[in-house]
Symmetry: C2
Subunit: 359 residues, 2 copies
Amino acid sequence: MITLDLILPDTRYPIHIGHGLLEQVDLLLPHLPVPKAAIVSNETVAPLYLARLRQALEARGVACLSVVLPDGEAHKDWQTLNRIFDALLSGNAERKTTLIALGGGVIGDMTGFAAACYQRGAPFIQIPTTLLAQVDSSVGGKTAINHPLGKNMIGAFYQPRAVIADMDLLATLPERELSAGLAEVIKYGLLGDADFLAWLEANMPALRARDSTALQYAVKRSCEMKAVIVAEDEKENGVRALLNLGHTFGHAIEAGMGYGAWLHGEAVAAGMVLAAAASAELGWIKQEEVERVRRLIAAAGLPTRAPQMPVEQWLSLMAHDKKVEAGTIRFVLLRRLGQAAIQPGLDITLLERILRANS
Amino acid sequence: MITLDLILPDTRYPIHIGHGLLEQVDLLLPHLPVPKAAIVSNETVAPLYLARLRQALEARGVACLSVVLPDGEAHKDWQTLNRIFDALLSGNAERKTTLIALGGGVIGDMTGFAAACYQRGAPFIQIPTTLLAQVDSSVGGKTAINHPLGKNMIGAFYQPRAVIADMDLLATLPERELSAGLAEVIKYGLLGDADFLAWLEANMPALRARDSTALQYAVKRSCEMKAVIVAEDEKENGVRALLNLGHTFGHAIEAGMGYGAWLHGEAVAAGMVLAAAASAELGWIKQEEVERVRRLIAAAGLPTRAPQMPVEQWLSLMAHDKKVEAGTIRFVLLRRLGQAAIQPGLDITLLERILRANS
């Protein structure tokens, strides 16, 4: 097991990465202020892992509630969030009851947001069960639900007490979800580590074959990079925005196609190709580097083209991006492969050109 | 104008108390990071004050959205909160758009919670238009909505950038709302300042006649006490719980009778009588002091008796109180008049006795 520490001004917490961690409740117990927990999972993950976690906790004297939500981004909304509150209140959960997210990014984001709001703040722990959640969404305290007009528009910065990334849980992950997680892994290489990018190009077949050593390294390197960036800028006033490489385009795809039609990672993948293409248009990178990005994304089993939408729809969807300031969309682009940078505003004809070429 | 400063570990903000402040937008402008604001008000307050505030801001170059919600505690729920998000997103409000709460406690709590959640945190300012909001709910950063199973169960600690308490706005306040505000003022005397309690007994007729000097002093003294307590314990890990004197009983009355049937201040008033009665049962204060509390509350035009509910309903409603720890309700009682203290748990026969005597 590897343990990384995420150190923030007001708190710090461990990210444990390894095998067989689900039932190692010694990793959880120090973070429960009272022996009561509420496990939040979904209909796909719960049959696989919920009983094992619950029994391991109950064997150590922790009283457990559980809530099983429908699976998928389409349910990352207020109605579903309310089911967590209903279960907490019906089960007399107190302000010190610890919420445990057992699932992918949607469950992590919703459980974290529920914890942020329940009685104005209850403790919570992330046990991510997808690659995407392990490398990205479970770390850093961004929690949210979607609004019909924009992705992750309603949420909170609220840090977990611990993150437990058990590699063994990836064994049951569908192929498509594995690829979606690889999109966020590729993002780390592109935005900040050219060596890691080269490593990913060399090891993509091993990752897709779920080679245990390769996966653990990819999770560790991604979490390391995220921890450094979040430690520097918890509330996204600066450098943290770079973690949104591909996400301004990606969120527009998700909202435009209807939440759940494209997986988040798939939308981010196509969004990163658009970001690379825009970077080439600005002369920041070469066209052949765009193609290198496209090849790696294709090798991960991910889409390299965005869906067709009228440019007005793109603009209207992107206008709700959280990086918009004074009416200007701040795009995260590639200064070079391995170094992202913010570009405030893009010419509309440039946008039309890259959308036409990559949709 | 008097200005108090609330100083917290991560932030500080002014509480301005005085006359003619609504249109003094110089008090607001330093707190707007960008010249864009969203004013949230309700159907009662908006016709009186919204246009004046909006025009004053627009005259200084601030672009304004506005959202007018239905009035009353019955609407302090997710459906109504969502109307704020709809308006913000439809109006392309950005993360730095400042939300301005123009209304009473319900508007302040909902606007603050919307600001806490919108894009994971937008700035907000409180312009309380009721006495209750001016002396209590606008200060200290408690924001929330209700859940059918419990009052203020879903919310956040999220501080405003400024609080503007304009005494002139109280001129249009209905009698019943004025009395409801006086409940929270009396609370401050009871929990922490015996001299202020005596002052309230002497000045209750002046306060109910809306004597300007008396009202301003009552607002100032209440805000001073709240600022000291919140500065010491922002997240309610200790002394801040004392501000909930009367509220454990009061929240049960509000939820049990249906939100809006009893005004918050009315429920707190009856709750303070119950707290005083319980304190007398424990031998902390004398029965004649309970009657002194009851007389002051009656003099403020407030109910001194709780509605009749079966004791099981009281217990079930109070079980969702945020001060419950390890299954025990932590009651805020009166060690003496002018000094509150926490009592973990009350004997059920004692509870039955005080409920029977005071319902």
